[in-house]
Each structure stands twice: as C-alpha cells, then as structure tokens.
C-alpha cells in the first residue's frame, strides 16, 4: 500500500541493478537529497549545525569507513580514533605548510595520507584475525596518539601541543575558523558525505566489495575461488582509512577548530564509531548513517528531555545517558545484531506486503 510497485517494470539490466530498484525508494532518496542540499542550508541555524548536523555528517563518514573494514571485509578495527587523528594532523600540517591550497584538496590529500598509514597498520591483518587483529589495531590507536603527543613537529612546536585550524576560504567564503558561516560548513561537509557515500555504495556492489564480503564470510573459501586476500584486505584497510581520515580532517578543521589529540581522538572515539556501526548495522551504508544519527542525536535528545523539559539535574541526565547507551548496545546485540538497518529492512518488507501479508 505504501509501496505501490504495480507497473514498476525494468527493461534493462542497468535499471534492474540500480541501487534503489523500487521507484518509491528512489523518489524518497531524491527527496532527502533535495531537502539536504536545497532546503537545510537556508533554514539551518548555528545551534542545529554545530551541535547536530556537522557531527552527524562527519561521524557518518567515519562510520561508513569503519563499516567498509568491519562490516564488509570482516576485519575488526579499534584504531578508528588514531586514524582520524592522522587525518586531522595531516590537514593541520597541510593547512599551515601550504596556506594557498584549497580545503577540498587538503581534505582529500589528508584522506590519502591516512590511507597510506592505514595500509601500513593493515599489513598484520594478513597473518592475524579476529581478536588478535583487534589488539593490533588497538596498538595503532595508542601508537598514533602517542606519536602526535610526542613529536612537536606535528603540532608546529606550539606551547600547549594543541592544533588550531586557521581560517581558509573557498570561493571567497570562509570554510574553517570562527568566522565561517554555518551553511558553508554544512554544505562543505555534505559534499564529502554525498560523494563518499555514493562511492562506498558502488564499491560495495562491485568486484571489490564482493571480494571483501567473500573474505569476511570465509577467507579460506574466498582464496580458493580466486580472491587475493592480500589485495582484498589491504584495499579494505586503505579505503576505510581514507574515509576515516577525511572524517578526522573535517572534525578538526570544520567542526572543532582546535584539537588535542588524546582528548579528541582517544580510544573512546574508536569505541564511539564502533558503536555507531554496531547499532546502525554491520555491512550497510544506510546503517552507518542511522548509527551516526542515533549516537549524535541521543545525548542531545536526552538532554533536552531531561534537563530542559523535566528539569532534572544535569549529572543525573548524563549518567542516565551512559546507562541508556550501554543498555541499547546490549539490546541490539541480543535482539537485532544487524542493527537499525535490519529493522528498517524488516519494516520495508512489511510495508511492501501491507495490508495483505502472507
């Protein structure tokens, strides 16, 4: 009833293979894109952009990145925070070393640098898997944070070890720094989100993605049918780190503006992105968005409900938030291991059959 599929015929392979084969889904996708590109920039205010939309977009990129590695290729990673730090520090060094370079180039370059570092730390994945790989990536997390704390060159020898994003403009509009308009920042991040999500979706549908999934499901079987594990695992690490690096770069340059590595990119950040992927749904691009939205919105929603509406003390609400997030993670792991994306899939199936389920 909600999905009227009658008359929705496919006459070519291309049409049959498209991402959104159901017309209703496709129109909704265009509608969401339209709202995001053409409506939100005109109505968004500073609070909405800075407290909700920017972190949502940036974490969505990180979640897609981790989902490629963990959800599609089956390699557990706890090094997300460290790789985000690589992206952030690469951006800082590029911004300060080449003041004339535009931000899009800088952000992509940071992504490539992170991809290189990711491949380096992905090498052990050829020999170890599961828990052992998780521990190896955990080592990457601690090593990278230690490195950026330890070597003053990375923070340009500043007294405090903080890095600050100077103001940079694109088309005459400030993108970074305190004077940047929020809609500019929003569109800047949105550009990366749409582009990267589109690329990720198509990668995972193609040869590369199928190789990743073959490795994830059973690496020995995959090797026997001709998947090169070296290539598959390292491309997963490279592309995942590329995404995570871009997310770290944006988090630093556009969203926060000043960063201290241990605080902003510590182990908690790795867990946060992992929770996004788990709650959102492993192996799903939509799940990455859902998970990011959920974990960015939940604390704010709880705060608005608890502190502003019910008038509870702030510490009680903050404690409740920990309890609720923890409870939800356990709930999802037990009841719906495939996350919000699976709930969405089930709901869609039900809606397609409604009102005549068989």
């Amino acid at each position: 009833m909600f999905y009227r599929e009658a008359g929705d015929f496919k006459t070519s392979y291309a049409a049959d293979n498209q991402t959104f084969p159901i017309a209703f889904d496709r129109y909704r996708y265009y509608f969401v894109l339209f709202i995001a590109i053409a409506v939100i920039p005109f109505v968004v205010n500073e609070y909405w952009a800075n407290a909700l939309l920017l972190p949502f977009l940036i974490y969505a990129i990180a979640a897609i990145g981790l989902n490629i590695l963990t959800g599609y290729c089956g390699q557990v990673s706890l090094g997300t925070g460290g790789f985000m730090a690589v992206g952030a520090y690469a951006t800082y060094k590029l911004m300060t070393a080449f003041p004339g370079l535009d931000m899009v180039t800088i952000t992509f370059l940071s992504g490539f640098i992170t991809a290189g570092v990711g491949v380096l730390f992905g090498l052990p994945s050829l020999r170890i898997k599961g828990f052992y790989l998780a521990v190896a990536t955990l080592a990457a997390q601690f090593f990278l944070v230690w490195l950026f704390n330890r070597v003053p060159w990375f923070y340009n020898y500043s007294a405090s070890g903080q890095i600050n994003a100077p103001e940079r403009t694109m088309f005459g509009l400030a993108v970074t720094g305190p004077n940047a308009e929020v809609w500019v920042k929003y569109l800047f991040c949105l550009f990366f989100v749409i582009l990267l999500a589109w690329v990720a979706r198509n990668l995972t549908r193609g040869t590369v993605g199928r190789q990743w999934m073959a490795i994830r499901d059973m690496d020995i079987a995959a090797e026997i049918i001709g998947v090169n594990p070296l290539k598959a695992k390292l491309t997963a690490f490279a592309i995942s780190s590329f995404y995570v690096g871009i997310s770290g770069a944006l988090l630093f340059s556009v969203f926060l503006g000043a960063v201290e590595v241990g605080e902003a990119f510590g182990i908690t950040k790795s867990f946060l992105v992992l929770f996004m992927v788990i709650i959102g749904g492993l192996g799903s691009i939509f799940g990455s968005f859902a998970g990011a939205a959920f974990l960015v919105l939940l604390p704010v929603a709880l705060k608005v409900l608890g502190v502003d509406t019910l008038g509870w003390p702030t510490d009680i609400v903050a404690h409740f938030q920990l309890v609720i997030v923890g409870g939800l993670i356990i709930f999802f792991l037990i009841v719906e291991p495939h996350g919000l994306a699976q709930l969405w899939r089930l709901a869609k199936e039900k809606l397609r059959l409604w009102p005549f389920p068989h």
């Binding site: 972190p55 405090s160 720094g177 503006g257 902003a264 919105l297 502003d308 702030t314 903050a318």
Partner: protein, 427 residues
C-alpha cells in the same frame, strides 16, 4: 530522523528562554574522571549567584538566570553546550577546562561574548591587545610556575643551582602549559628540569613514580587535575617521597585530592590563587541558599577549596556586571557591555571586605592591554590530622620579567596564525 528532529525542535521551543535576566551559563562537569573537581567549583559558582538573587535581588535590580550544561570535561560536549546556551544571551563563559577554552576562544571572540578562564586556559590570553574577549585574571599558569619557583628560591636562600626538579604533568594542553616557563627558569636559576607526562585520565602513574624514585629529585611539581591528583599523592606516599617537597599547582590542591591518602598526605603543598577560611559570605550563602533548599548539588562542599574558587569566580563575574552596569547606565547588560565591565574591573581589599570575602584574592585591576591580573598566588599545606588546608604564605608575586616576554611571543604567534590585528590600547 526528520520526525525526531522536529520533535526535538518542538522541545527546544517549548523550553525556550524566560526573557531578560542576566544569563550565566555554567558549563560544569559532574560526571567523568574530573567530576571531583568540577562539582565543588560549579556548586560554588551557582550558589553565589543564587545568594545574590535571594539576598539582593540580583545585581542592579536584575536577577541572574543560571543555565547549567554538563560537559563531562569533553570538548565536543563543551561546544554543544556553548552553542545551546549562547543564544539565550549568555554574558560570560567559564568552562573550567583548558581544552574547551581553546575551542571557545575563536568562537566567543567571533560572537562577541567574553570568556573568563580563571587560572586556566590559554596563558597568553593575558595580552588583551590580541585577545580582546578572553580574560584570565587573577593569575595564569606561567605565573603559577614562576610563583612556585620563587617560593622555592625563598626557601633555598635564593639559589636553586644544581637542584633537580621534576614536573609531573597531565599530558594535555593544560599540563603542558607551564613547560616553557619552567624551561626558561631552569636556565636562569640553574636547576635541572625533568618532565614526566601522565596520560588521561591519570590512574596509571607507576612508571612515572619509579622514575622519580630513581632520579631522586629535590622537588616534584605537579600540574594535575581530577583523579590524577589523588593517585599522585598516594604514589608519592608509597615511595615515601617527602611530602613537603611535593608541590601541586592550584588545580592540584583540594581536599578530595589528599583525603584518600589519609595521614600519608600530611605536608603536601599546593598553590592557591584564592584565600581560604571562614568568610562572612559563607554565612550568607548558608542562610539564603542552603537553608532555603536552593543549594546546587548536594550542598556538602560549602567552604572547600574549589567551592571557594568557584564562588570567587562568580564574585568576579558579578563585580564585572556591576561595573558594566555603572559604565553603560543600564541594568540589563549585553555581552559586549560585560566585556567592557571585565576590562575595567578593579578588586581592592576594601571591596572584597564589603563583599564579605576579605582576603579571598589578591588586589588587582584589569586593563585593555592586561587581561591577566597580578598573577599572585599563595602556598598552602595539607594538615592531615585537622583535615584542612593551611595557608602558609601571603600572595607571592611571579617573576613578570620571565612570563611577560613569553606572553608577548605566544600571543604574537597566535595573532600571526589567525590574522588578528593588535588593538591599540593607548587610545
């Protein structure tokens, strides 16, 4: 998600501002690894404003409205709190976190809202010619480092030649702040400086204290916060380091830092930038706020070191508001007026007496070029049997000849990085 956002939007709208008032956001942290320090500071901060509301009806006939926002010492949540509260007409921000301060310096400056980072934050913000909206009076980290060395010089007949001093610091922007000053001072006075970093949150210090035991330093100076302080005091006790040679900065010298170590903490020293003791203002807070059931938190912190400091921060803010009201002749001041008031603030001994808090801080005045105050701090010592901090000295002056060039240098770097023109304060 769209639906949820509209619902949240409706929630925000419904709980919108009750107009006018002097809006004071309190970016507190009552959860997490640093809550032990965040709670008493926030209690003191809120209680003082509430006391003014109850006793005097606010300042100049305008009531205070406090908006508390939990940051958990996390910069991203601090930014969220800032964005959530600034639209309400916030007059001044005091985030009590160096990390959040670094986030807020550019934002608050762009939004024209003053930032008061009392004894924390970016030290070079003391240069008002570059940092128009940031104030860190009455003292900053470099003053603190200098004061400790001055006090030690005093005890060692003016020479620290050949002595070994360990700096045990929280491995963050906060903890790294004093390093540059101490390096200059170590060259100047000929002592050896050993730097030992402790990573967030600071529970793991075994390695550092092993090094200290091996190095046998004459003094250990600590730049710690939160759970790190308690652990350090305990570790020092474990290796039987002489406590009177272990000196914390003003964020490492509260009751909760030393009580867990029991009698072993006796003699531990720390700086303090505010006076302690039984002040008349506490009685007012007791009658007007606590007895009326309006206390922030559980009301158990009245008179403790950090409670007093939070109250002192509120007192300085309230004084700046009064000055701003007089300067501009309006009661409902704007953040821009508040900034002017803070820049014209003058604290005299007589005024502190009037406010019911004699000796709560040094006398100082703020000017267009100097946002840092005098930088004086007192030395205090923990008496474990009486369970109280005893103030040992008067307010000790820092060596401005050392800190001033560093401030000039660092603020010039900030100005160059961000393309800021220095204000002309001679006008």
């Amino acid at each position: 998600m769209k639906k949820l956002t509209t619902m949240v939007m409706a929630g925000v709208m419904a709980s919108g501002p009750a107009l006018a008032d002097l809006v004071i956001p309190d970016l507190s942290y009552r959860t997490g690894a640093y809550a032990a320090g965040g709670i008493p500071f926030s209690d003191g901060y809120q209680d003082y404003f509430n006391m003014l509301n109850q006793r005097d009806g606010g300042v100049g006939g305008e009531m205070f409205r406090i908006i508390e926002c939990e940051t958990a010492y996390n910069t991203e949540r601090g930014v969220e709190c800032y964005e959530a509260t600034k639209g309400e007409g916030a007059l001044v921000y005091q985030p009590l976190s160096t990390g959040i301060t670094y986030q807020l310096i550019p934002r608050a400056t762009a939004d024209g809202i003053p930032l008061h980072t009392m004894g924390y934050g970016r030290t070079s913000a003391a240069n008002g010619e570059i940092f128009s909206n940031v104030f860190n009076y009455p003292a900053n980290y470099w003053d603190g480092a200098s004061v400790i060395i001055n006090a030690l010089l005093d005890e060692n007949d003016g020479s620290l030649e050949g002595q070994k001093i360990v700096l045990l610091y929280h491995n963050s922007a906060y903890g790294r702040e004093p390093i540059r000053t101490l390096e200059v001072l170590s060259e100047q006075h000929g002592f050896e400086l050993v730097q030992l970093a402790v990573d967030h949150p600071g529970q793991e210090q075994g390695n550092q204290w092993l090094t200290i035991r091996r190095e046998r330093p004459d003094y250990v100076i600590m730049w710690g916060w939160g759970v790190m302080n308690q652990v350090a005091v305990q570790e020092a006790a474990n290796i039987r380091f002489p406590m009177e040679n272990f000196i914390g900065n003003w964020w490492a010298g509260a009751e909760h830092d030393v009580i867990p170590a029991g009698d072993a903490a006796n003699g531990y020293r720390a700086l303090n930038m505010n006076g302690l003791g039984d002040m008349p203002v506490f009685a007012d807070i007791q009658t007007h706020v606590h007895d009326a059931g309006l206390a922030a938190g559980d009301g158990s912190n009245l008179g403790s070191v950090l409670y007093t400091r939070g109250m002192y921060a509120a007192m300085l803010a309230a004084e700046a508001i009064r000055v701003a009201q007089e300067m501009h002749g309006v009661a409902a001041i704007t953040p821009a007026m508040m900034r002017d008031g803070m820049e014209a603030l003058e604290m005299t001994a007589a005024r502190m007496e009037e406010l019911g808090a004699p000796g709560i801080g040094p006398e100082f005045s703020v000017s267009c070029s100097d946002h840092g105050g005098t930088g004086m701090a007192a030395m205090q010592q923990w008496n474990a049997s009486e369970q109280e901090w005893v103030t040992l000295t008067d307010f000790i002056a820092p060596d401005d000849a050392v800190t001033q060039p560093l401030i000039e240098e660092d603020s010039a770097m900030f100005a160059a990085e961000n393309g800021i023109e220095a204000r002309d304060c001679a006008m």
